[in-house]
């Protein structure tokens, strides 16, 4: 087993990986950018190395700096988390070339799955159903011709991408060129590669993905599905397992397809095979494979009782994954809500600022993977994910009630979050029925922020009056939480 691991990430996933390492008795090294000097992930690691400026390209995406930090601290392996360098085959190869272990799949599998256009064709050859579309287009006129042939609505995707970034729905021909242009910009900035592909847009489709897990000795299983149809801007906000709509037969067929997909590219470690399911026909289509740990891995952990991050590390160290397909069992129901610093009332615009007050829910069956602490800052440089709230309960309706109760206890002041929005999604009859498709949030779910209740105005007035009359602000000390890092440190350093 490794004695030291460098975690090449930030936020909640870096914190979560550090905990897995601690439990395995492994020393951890965090890396951080200048914007993250006081971030939670630097505090939970045994060591922390500054690797560059706040722009991702200067730090978290800087392969040389990350590897140099690992060498400096005698790390033997690097865990990339998700996002950043996690699906970068050059990075995985550079890690190996430096004599270190990359905790993830083989670079060849990353490369094979990283090109979304190429991987679709490969999966088609392996017998998996794929969504009709057009790849390897170059000129605008190629795109226009292909789009006309396919018909609208259609989807533009980044060939190199994943996680919904750069993905755009085009409903009429007139918007195509502008959307292509925008998608290219995002793709170039996010993945350093502006190639795009087109895909038929399947309406009312569900996004269902399968977790796969394999070791370096040829053993590969799936760990069941995750239902990820609640999305905004093509990014997931609520995930759950089991999927409320999957029949046992379809689960088995899709699970087998996921294992085939991973096997074709010689996959090992954790990966996720994404499918679109047309509920009208029960037909499923291979969408893409994410060659990394997924944001929503925790629902699978709660459902199966397995610690995926610890297994990632053990498999990277050469251990065998000891469970056969029939040994992996499901119990109860797990749901995750992603807590974003974003304003649902302004088109989910990210919100930045200092966390003036942060009260996080706790209780039986409640897990919170958080990347922030009271007093911390949410900057504009990185993804606005603050935390993931995950619950496990005996069945779906208990799990929904549990996560609703937990969200009611979640207080975040200083940045706008999507917590109230999540509450309204969870309470919606469509969600409660489990009949939500990927377009639901944007096309069917009508959301308005609640009117400000009298209680809130009264509380604000009492607090304000008190601040005025006492001369000191009633709640002002929340801005100098003694447990929040650094606030007081400034005075102390002088």
């Amino acid at each position: 087993m490794f004695s030291t691991i460098l975690i090449a990430n930030r936020g909640e996933i870096a914190v979560r990986i550090a905990r897995a390492c601690k439990e395995l008795g492994i020393h951890t090294v965090a890396v951080y950018s200048e914007a993250d000097r006081h971030a939670l992930h630097t505090q939970v690691a045994d060591e922390a190395v500054l690797i560059g400026g706040p722009q991702p390209g200067e730090s978290y995406l800087n392969i040389e700096r990350v590897i140099a930090a690992a060498k400096e601290t005698d790390a033997e392996a690097i865990h990339p988390g998700y996002g950043f360098l996690s699906e970068n085959a050059e990075f995985a190869e550079a890690v190996q070339a430096a004599g270190l272990t990359f905790i993830g799949p083989p670079p060849s599998a990353i490369r094979a799955m990283g090109d979304k256009a190429e991987s679709k064709l490969r999966m088609q050859r392996a017998g998996l159903p794929i969504i009709p579309g057009a790849q390897n287009l170059n000129s605008d006129s190629d795109f226009v011709a292909a789009a006309r042939a396919m018909g609208f609505p259609l989807l533009i995707k980044a060939s190199a991408g994943g996680g919904g970034k750069g993905m755009r729905t085009v409903t009429e021909a007139g918007d195509l060129l502008e959307e292509l242009e925008a998608a290219r910009r995002v793709a170039l900035s996010a993945f350093g590669d502006d190639r795009l592909l087109l895909e038929k847009y399947i309406e009312a489709a569900q996004h269902i993905e399968f977790q796969v897990f394999g070791d370096q000795h040829g053993h590969l299983v799936h760990l069941f599905e995750r239902e990820c149809s609640v999305q905004r801007r093509h990014q997931k906000i609520i995930e759950e397992t089991p999927s409320p709509l999957l029949t046992p037969e379809l689960r088995e067929k899709m699970g087998q397809a996921a294992v085939i997909a991973a096997g074709v590219v010689g996959y090992y470690n954790a990966g996720t095979v994404e499918f679109l399911v047309d509920p009208a026909t029960s037909q499923f289509y291979f969408l893409e494979m994410n060659a990394r740990l997924q944001v929503e891995h925790a629902v699978t952990e709660l459902l199966t009782g397995l610690d995926l991050v610890q297994w990632q590390i053990r498999i990277a160290a050469g251990e065998r994954f000891p469970f056969q397909q029939e040994d992996v069992t499901r119990r109860g129901h797990a749901i995750e809500c992603r807590i974003y610093a974003e304003d649902p009332a302004s088109g989910f615009l990210p919100s930045t600022g200092g966390l003036l007050q942060l009260l996080e829910p706790r209780g039986p069956g409640i897990r919170l993977d958080s990347g922030v602490a009271a007093g911390g800052e949410v900057s504009h440089y990185y993804d606005p994910l603050l935390a993931k709230l995950i619950v496990h309960a005996e069945d779906r309706s208990s799990a929904i009630r549990r996560i609703q109760a937990a969200l009611r206890d979640y207080v975040v002041h200083g940045v706008v979050t999507n917590i109230d929005f999540l509450q309204d999604v969870l309470a919606d009859p469509d969600f409660q029925d489990g009949s939500v498709s990927t377009g639901w949030v944007e096309s069917l779910f009508e959301w308005r922020p609640s009117a400000v209740p009298a209680d809130a105005l009264i509380a604000a007035a009492v607090a304000e009056l008190n601040a005025l009359s006492s001369g000191s602000q009633l709640a002002g000390a929340a801005e100098t939480d003694p447990f929040s890092p650094w606030k007081s440190a400034k005075g102390f350093r002088n």
Partner: protein, 161 residues
């Protein structure tokens, strides 16, 4: 007696010790402040127990009650910012970020809804649209530039119609 304004909601409040009289929407209520902890208050509003979390934040105040969080703008600021939104001839950055594209130059005529500039923040594209038919007076930021929240990006004026 103090008259406070949160957004467009006026609240009149009078205190005597821990007891307050509050008038809101022409309804009068009796409020007792049972306990106050920095950031957390326990109130009795007409005898009903209400827990509220409150954090002042410059000209705003964050309030959570009944599991819902609201950012209330205090009167004057709120009025000013609403006004500037409607009548303004200045476009400012809605949040910190980097300028990805500038689609107009000074002197260009623009139509309402046209994308004038594209920012990237938190890996997301934010498009700045023309709020009315008009003409660009000046462009204050260039491609690649990092801008702060509220930083002036474009000045424009209404076209005489």
């Amino acid at each position: 007696m103090s008259r406070l304004l949160f957004g467009d909601a006026p609240v009149e409040i009078t205190s005597s010790g821990r007891a307050y009289s509050v008038s809101l929407d022409d309804r009068l209520g009796q409020v007792e402040l049972v306990e106050a902890d920095q950031g957390r208050m326990l109130l009795l509003i007409d005898g009903r127990r209400v827990v509220a979390y409150v954090s002042p934040d410059g000209s705003s105040v964050w309030v959570t009650t009944g599991g819902r969080t609201f950012r209330l703008k205090k009167s004057i600021t709120a009025a000013r910012s609403a006004a500037s939104h409607d009548a303004s001839s200045e476009l400012a950055a809605p949040m910190p970020g980097q300028v990805r594209a500038v689609n107009v130059n000074a002197g260009d005529a623009v139509t309402k809804g046209q994308v004038l500039m594209v920012l990237e923040a938190m890996k997301m594209e934010i498009r700045l649209h023309a709020p009315f038919d008009g003409q660009i007076s000046s462009v204050e930021a260039g491609v690649g530039q990092t801008v702060e929240r509220e930083q002036l990006l474009i000045r424009l004026h209404r076209r005489d119609s």
